[in-house]
């Protein structure tokens, strides 16, 4: 299994990390943790 990536916060920054890392390396295990009820919002 690929490396385990944990991203804390799914705002513009965190969500962009998840999307780009996934594109680059499909073997990564990526978890995106968000304390609110929604992710990746246009400001």
């Amino acid at each position: 299994m690929g490396k385990q990536v944990v991203i804390i916060g799914a705002g513009a920054g965190g969500a962009s990390v998840a999307a780009e890392a996934r594109r680059r390396d499909p073997s990564l295990a990526i978890a995106l943790i968000e304390q609110r009820g929604q992710v990746s919002v246009a400001a």
């Binding site: 385990q4 990536v5 916060g9 965190g14 969500a15 962009s16 390396d25 943790i33 968000e34």
Partner: protein
């Protein structure tokens, strides 16, 4: 988000760049309504609010900002909001539907306060802005801030200055009553827009070094001082290409870029974030307001010897119908003649000038360069001498 609250953007889903479901389709394990309570660095695990311990090889902090609150009694009352997150926008919009909201008070006169005054006024709500100072949007020259005040007043928004907040109480005529040094003022909604600070709680807990701004220090690759730990967006610092200093600028476009850089590096690539020049814009009713680079005070703090000029020109050719005045201020360094910053205000053309000048700052252009830039001239878009040329040549003569 102000445009969603103001019903300019009607559908909630249009605000969401990518839903949890979309992420899950790509195999990302999305956990909403879940807090990261603590990072156990020895075990390389994140402790979540549901009790799970999530192991990591690589950790990314994208913890955003925390809205500042004035710290007055009653500020936690129902109907008092801060606008920072999407969920705040939903709560405000549902409050507007739920109560007959005839009047709103906005506390704070930064750009969020300005955007929100347009959003609420646009819904037909009587709107009052309370500001502790005398002029709004302190980044801009007082002459431009006065134009903003005039625009608010023209559109029926009251602007109260020198307001010292005392408390929020239950209202009689309206739901809530704000008490200030000026006495009571009632409203059905109170929006706190006094600013934000970086939320670096987890970073601090981990002992990561913070910058002067209180944001997490990062390298150009978005890595923190700790191996395998990245930070991106509003909780992290950013390199300012003009001041050559590390700053914190909580804007979504910067967060997107930093996130992509970190994602590239985590995904096996190698990319660095080139930094920012401090470009920013907002709209308030019929006015475009924009700025880039450094103001005079920031320039002096960064060790420059700033000189400035403020001109009023034409947004398009002066002979054309529909022309409107355009205010443009330029700041440059006396010693080198280099452009340091710009501010603009007008019904049209302010943002386009600031975007051009942002590219100039990015490239480190001088006033001589800016004064002779080859710009796209045609009467519907500018005079044959653009305000950029005029301002740059005027300031050059002053140095």
């Amino acid at each position: 988000m102000p445009y969603y609250i103001g019903d300019v953007i009607q559908e909630e889903k249009r605000l969401i760049a990518r839903t949890p479901e979309k992420f899950r389709e790509t195999g990302v394990d999305v956990r909403i309504d879940t807090r990261a309570e603590e990072v156990d660095e020895a075990a390389r695990e994140v402790l979540l609010s549901d009790g799970t311990r999530l192991p990591y090889d690589i950790l990314v902090l994208g913890t955003g900002t925390t809205p500042l609150m004035p710290g007055i009694p009653g500020e936690e009352r129902e109907g008092v909001f801060a606008l920072r997150q999407y969920t705040d926008a939903l709560r405000i919009k549902s409050w507007l539907k739920q109560v007959p909201c005839r009047k709103a008070i906005i506390i704070g006169a930064g750009f969020i306060g300005m955007e929100m005054s347009e959003a609420l006024r646009g819904r037909g709500i009587e709107t009052v802005v309370h500001h502790r100072g005398t002029l709004p949007v302190s980044r801009w020259d007082p002459e431009f801030s006065k134009v903003v005040v005039e625009e608010l007043q023209k559109k029926g928004v009251s602007f109260v200055t020198g307001s010292e907040l005392r408390s929020v109480e239950e209202g009689i005529e309206h739901k809530l009553r704000l008490v200030t040094n000026h006495g009571p003022d009632e409203a059905d909604l109170i929006l706190m827009a006094v600013g934000v600070r970086p939320n670096a709680v987890l970073g601090k807990q981990m002992g990561l070094p913070l910058g002067k701004s209180g944001a997490i220090r990062v390298s150009f690759s978005q890595q923190t001082e700790r191996e395998g730990v990245y930070a991106v967006g509003d909780c992290a610092e950013t390199f300012h290409r003009v001041s050559r200093r590390w700053v914190n600028v909580p804007l979504g476009d910067i967060a997107n870029k930093q996130g992509r850089i970190a994602g590239v590096n985590i995904g096996g690539g190698a990319m660095t974030f080139p930094g920012i020049v401090g470009a920013q814009s907002f709209k308030v009713f019929d006015l475009e307001v924009a700025a880039t680079g450094l103001g005079e005070r920031e320039a002096a703090e960064a060790g420059f010897d700033p000189a400035s000029t403020l001109i009023w020109g034409n947004a398009i050719a002066g002979s054309m119908p529909g022309n409107s005045p355009l205010g443009l201020k330029l700041i440059a360094d006396r010693a080198t003649g280099k452009l340091l910053g710009a501010q603009a205000v007008g019904k049209a053309g302010a943002v386009s000038r600031i975007n051009t000048l942002s590219a100039a700052l990015w490239a480190g252009l001088s006033l001589d360069d800016a004064g002779w830039l080859d710009l796209a001239y045609a009467p519907p878009f500018s005079g044959s001498w653009d305000p950029i040329h005029t301002a740059a040549q005027t300031l050059k003569r002053k140095l």
